[in-house]
């Protein structure tokens, strides 16, 4: 039986806005197995951002539990969550979120700055990560010298750096054209299939979502539909 990477049980998230409350997640339960490629879809206000933030250990649920690789991270304090983010999770954002005026190599090695790794080890691992996304020769280029697709690939390399359990991508192709989007999705697919890295992706584009083998649809804070298989892709 496949290892459970993510186990959500009755996840609830409420925000206090002014005098009232907003219930962003109203009891989400789901399991993601090792090696899965999951897409989370839904209209705005459906709670996908809140779910993503909790999955990424950037936020804690109001109630319910979140087991990441068997650990209940929903009870962790800020420092412990930071450690989880460093070791187990790799983020890929819509706006790339690279440091400006910095080289690709320095961007990729960023997570290792917060570990005890020394500079040579950081350099080598960063180069290896860039290699796996095909950008080894751009290692010394600064962010503004890279195209959108290249920047996103650098971000992916950074996400891969610490050999994470899970890569979380939030609208990863939102700022890219169709051709580059497909290239990026190919990289994700390759990482998922060849290296067995679990992928969870939020998107609102159906053709991008079809790269994923599982899709869940959120509405008003709950999962309303789940699909499996690669339907709709040519």
């Amino acid at each position: 039986m496949a290892k459970k990477i993510i186990e959500l049980q009755n996840l609830v998230k409420t925000y206090k806005i002014g005098d009232g409350e907003v219930r962003a997640l109203q009891g989400v339960s789901y399991t993601v197995d090792d090696g899965d490629f999951l897409a989370i879809m839904g209209p705005s206000g459906s709670g996908k951002s809140s779910l993503m933030n909790i999955l990424g250990c950037l936020d804690k649920p109001t109630s319910g539990t979140y087991f990441l690789e068997g650990q209940d991270v929903s009870t962790f304090d800020k420092n412990a969550l930071a450690r989880v983010r460093n070791r187990k999770i790799g983020f890929v954002f819509q706006t790339f979120n690279l440091l400006s005026r910095t080289t690709a190599l320095e961007n990729v090695e960023l997570p290792l700055l917060y570990t005890s790794a020394h500079s040579r080890e950081r350099h080598e691992r960063a180069l290896a990560a860039l290699d796996s996304v095909g950008l080894r020769d751009r290692a010394r280029h600064k962010t503004n010298q890279l195209s959108g697709g290249e920047q996103q690939r650098v971000a992916i390399a950074r996400a891969l750096l610490n050999s994470p359990t899970l890569i979380l991508a939030d609208e990863p192709t939102g700022n890219l054209d169709t051709k580059t989007s497909n290239e990026i999705m190919d990289v994700f697919t390759k990482l998922n299939v060849e290296k067995g890295i679990t992928m969870v992706m939020v998107t609102h584009e159906t053709d991008i979502a079809c790269y994923a083998r599982k899709r869940i649809y959120l509405r008003d804070g709950q999962i309303v539909r789940e699909e499996r298989g690669k339907e709709g892709r040519d």
Binding site: A82, R83, R85, R101, E106, P111, L113, R158
Partner: protein, 408 residues
């Protein structure tokens, strides 16, 4: 995270925006530079005062008429005629802690040589004046006791007077007119320069005091007595002996006010040293205010920097930076900045101390750069960095990563 790595990360972050980093540090650079320049000015002034008093001789005593409550007047002036020549002779004879005396009788006069005219101070002194006052002859000789007894019409010129009347011509043996009376020039005094910037000590001619009393001013009292004690240690003893003697001579009852004052040059020197020290502290304090302003500047710019880098902070937190890591990073940036600023400030301060003499206003002012001031300025700038960098660093560390990542 260790200090070295944090410092390198901080340096890299600072290097990304060199102009802003420089402008931030500018306050510290100027502040430290100003402190060092001001302190070295103060030290130089102190040393200058010390040296001037040393050149006067620290076993020098001054006796002049006038009680403590009515300040003694040192040249001419009304009222106090209580000192007589006999007093000076008695002091020389009877006070064993006294080596030399030189009575003083002063006046002003017009001195003329050929077609040159000069109004100057005429100091009537004893034959021992050069020793008592530590003032050497540069050319020629000084008058001796016989010329004093004879109230001879001889004089020794101060450098300034010599220049005004004779320019480059040799003055020795020439005759000049003082108040119309012909005087022969015996010698020229070495230059002593300005005293406290108020009057030029070289603007003087020196004649026997008897000559002033008899021929120039027609008075029978003297203005003051310069006394040289046998040694520096016995100066206080000498003062006591003189006071006792004069009280007897002037028939002053015990408990009554003296009609004279004995001043110990080293007391005056100490007083002057104290006031220059206060001046130094004042200068340093004012300059420190600019250092404070520099620190506030750092805090402001760091706050701006934090706001501009909210996204960056969010990214760092997303990949695993804890609150502590962010706090340390920004704090180190502030400290590194102020430390580098301090270093540049030291260079700037030392350089301006050394170059100050080329600016016309400061031409005569001495500066001494003290290593303690440099060390202190460094330490101060580092603490300014820590103190003023803390608040922005804390603000940065307390950001919520989700909101930080969303920040435009």
């Amino acid at each position: 995270m260790n200090i070295l790595r944090t410092s390198r990360i901080a340096l890299r972050a600072l290097a990304r925006n060199k102009m802003r980093s420089f402008l931030t540090a500018l306050g510290i650079i100027i502040g430290v530079g100003a402190v060092i320049a001001m302190v070295s000015l103060g030290e130089g002034a102190k040393k200058g005062v010390e040296e001037r008093f040393n050149s006067l001789g620290t076993n020098l005593l001054n006796v002049f008429p006038g009680s403590r409550d009515h300040h003694g007047i040192s040249s001419g002036g009304g009222g106090w005629q209580s000192l007589k020549v006999e007093d000076a002779e008695a002091i020389a004879a009877q006070c064993d802690a006294v080596r030399y005396v030189s009575p003083s009788a002063n006046t002003r006069a017009q001195v003329i040589y050929a077609n040159k005219n000069w109004n100057t101070s005429v100091q009537g002194v004893g034959a021992r004046y050069p020793e008592v006052r530590n003032w050497e002859i540069e050319a020629g000789t000084f008058f001796d006791e016989s010329q004093v007894t004879a109230a001879g019409k001889v004089c020794v010129l101060g450098k300034e007077v010599k220049k005004s009347l004779f320019e480059d011509e040799d003055a020795l043996g020439k005759v000049i007119r003082v108040k119309g009376i012909p005087f022969r020039v015996l010698g020229v005094l070495k230059s002593k320069g300005e005293a406290g910037g108020f009057f030029n000590r070289d603007d003087v001619i020196v004649v026997p005091y008897t000559t002033v009393m008899k021929r120039l001013a027609r008075e029978d009292h003297i203005n003051s007595i310069d006394v040289q004690a046998v040694s520096m240690d016995r100066t206080v003893e000498a003062k006591g002996q003189i006071e006792e003697l004069l009280r007897i001579r002037h028939k002053i009852a015990p408990g009554a006010d003296d009609d004279f004052q004995v001043r110990n040059m080293s007391e005056i020197a100490e007083g002057a040293a104290q006031s220059t020290q206060i001046m130094g502290i004042l200068l340093g304090s004012i300059a420190s205010i600019s250092l404070l302003v520099g620190g506030i500047g750092i805090m402001n710019i760091m706050l701006v920097s934090v706001t501009e880098r909210i996204r960056e902070i969010g990214i760092r937190m997303a990949v695993g930076a804890r609150e502590k890591d962010i706090l340390l990073q920004f704090l180190t940036e502030a400290v590194v900045l102020s430390f580098l600023g301090g270093g540049l400030g030291v260079i700037f301060g030392v350089a301006s101390s050394k170059l100050m003499k080329y600016i016309p206003i400061f031409a005569g002012w001495k500066t001494i750069v003290s290593p303690q001031a440099i060390l202190l300025a460094f330490a101060f700038s580092a603490s300014v960095g820590i103190f003023f960098g803390f608040y922005p660093a804390r603000k940065a560390s307390k950001l919520d990563p989700i909101e930080a990542l969303r920040y435009e």
